[in-house]
């Protein structure tokens, strides 16, 4: 079917494909490739993943508690990969959707509170400047 296409046509098709690939910054399939970051710097990559694995081991906090913290933080930093990963992780651990949503509200409350608490700065400034 391609015999009637010119070289320019192929260049155009290649460009189209490239543009299609670039249509979003996030691809869910990329999460599976996370480990590949070590390929460009093995030493630091290894250190990071060793650290990461150790952090999530049971310690003073249970793995379950750590999973819920990770889910809340994932939403705070709005990381789509982390949201996918820790929603799945929570389900695997038997964490309920009610528990997940409560954890998110903790994140939302701190995030909202962080904006609102700066209101004190605004009030101080107004009180100082306003007659």
């Amino acid at each position: 079917m391609y015999q009637n296409y010119s070289t320019n046509d192929f260049r155009f098709i290649s460009l189209l494909k490239f543009k299609q690939m670039q249509k979003t910054y996030y691809d869910p399939a990329d999460l599976k490739k996370f480990g590949k970051i070590s390929e460009w710097n093995e030493e630091l990559g290894k250190k990071f993943f060793d650290y990461y694995g150790k952090v999530f081991e049971e310690g003073a906090l249970t793995e379950r508690e750590k999973s819920l913290i990770a889910l809340a933080v994932a939403h705070t930093i709005q990381c789509p990969y982390c949201i996918d990963a820790y929603t799945g992780d929570g389900l695997q651990r038997g964490i309920t959707k009610e528990e997940m949503m409560e954890a998110l509200h903790v994140a939302a409350a701190i995030r909202g509170g962080a904006s609102l608490v700066h209101g004190v700065q605004m009030m101080n400034k107004v009180n100082k400047l306003d007659m």
């Binding site: 599976k32 695997q92 038997g94 309920t96």
Partner: protein, 351 residues
């Protein structure tokens, strides 16, 4: 919530050939994911071979009082496949001569077979070390005639293995049907009341957990801890062990995966979690599954996919432990379900 089996609905997926086609097409045919045979060949584990028979699992029929969303048997009240007394007699002959240490009765709801009690009476006389009945719990509350099942199990020292997908009502009922959680709790209380599942009791009561969706089970020991804590605190219920089982892409779970657009991701997850150590102990290497009509399979999943044993002995009437020993296990891509993560079997994790 579904109320009819795939068979009753005349679904395309009621056909095991169609299921096998799906399991070998798309992502596997294109080479995006390796076929199970080539995956286990990477670690020199192909062909999988049957070792010494330890567990004889008999499926006494596909009839069930529940219609669970994930059921690989496609069981339900509308399934009429029930083991006859004649086939049970053939099974008893084998139970008498087998060297296996575990007899495992399953279904459907095995208790719904009209000859179930007679069969348990006869089989328990042989004195097999571990005599399991897989009960869905709600059957004990379904009809007055089943209410004395706990006492019946106790009188035969049956090891009860019961399904319990979560410690909350919401998740349990979503998978298994409205009211299942409350009925299961009542049945567990009845079992505890006569000694089943109590600490230090010889009356064994284990629970089976399987995920209520398109995800893999977490750590069996962590889940067991959570189940024990919550069931004790909220309902004063005791049990011995929890078996975490992975849902295999067979029958209604396969139907669910496809309908919810989760099939490809789920298969990727299974393949990604592939664990060669789990292959070493996968249940088909020490188990034989007998269907309601007496045919032999490497496991209950192969039974549902109509993949019979690769042996001259195909039927319980032709049973021959020597012929079945060292047979090549029949595999397809659903087998990834038993080799993911810590592995999965009717006895829970294997690695």
């Amino acid at each position: 919530m579904i109320t009819k089996s795939l068979h009753k609905r005349e679904s395309e997926l009621a056909n095991s050939k169609r299921q096998l086609e799906i399991l070998s097409n798309s992502i596997f045919k294109s080479g995006d994911l390796p076929m199970f045979a080539s995956k286990i060949a990477e670690t020199n584990q192909f062909p999988l071979k049957a070792r010494k028979l330890e567990i004889l699992q008999i499926n006494v029929g596909y009839m069930c009082n529940q219609v669970c969303e994930h059921c690989h048997v496609d069981a339900g009240p509308d399934r009429k496949e029930i083991m006859t007394k004649e086939t049970m007699l053939q099974c008893l002959e084998v139970i008498k001569k087998t060297k296996s240490h575990t007899l495992d009765l399953t279904g459907g709801a095995p208790e719904m077979n009209p000859n179930f009690r007679w069969f348990v009476d006869e089989a328990s006389k042989v004195g097999i070390k571990d005599f399991i009945v897989r009960s869905n719990l709600t059957i004990m509350k379904a009809n007055k005639k089943f209410a004395d099942l706990p006492e019946f199990f106790k009188s035969h020292n049956v090891h009860v293995v019961s399904s319990m997908p979560h410690w909350t009502r919401g998740k349990t009922d979503k998978q298994r049907g409205t009211g299942v959680f409350d009925q299961s709790i009542e049945a567990l209380r009845d079992l505890n009341a006569i000694g089943y599942g109590m600490p230090d009791s010889n009356l064994r009561l284990d629970l089976v957990y399987n995920p209520s969706g398109a995800f893999l089970p977490g750590s069996q020991s962590s889940l067991e801890k959570d189940f024990k804590k919550t069931l004790l605190e909220d309902f004063n219920i005791h049990f011995h062990n929890l078996f975490a089982i992975t849902n295999l892409p067979v029958s209604r779970f396969l139907d669910y995966l496809i309908a919810s657009d989760n099939y490809e991701d789920y298969m990727y997850n299974l393949v990604e979690a592939y664990n060669p150590a789990a292959v070493e102990n996968v249940m088909c290497t020490n188990t034989l599954s007998v269907s309601w009509d007496g045919y032999l399979y490497d496991c209950d999943f192969n039974q549902m996919l109509q993949l019979p044993v690769n042996s001259k002995a195909k039927h319980i009437s032709e049973y021959n432990e020597e012929l079945l020993f060292n047979r090549d296990i029949v595999i397809s891509q659903h087998c990834y379900g038993c080799t993911a993560g810590a592995g999965s079997s009717c006895q829970g994790s294997v690695a």
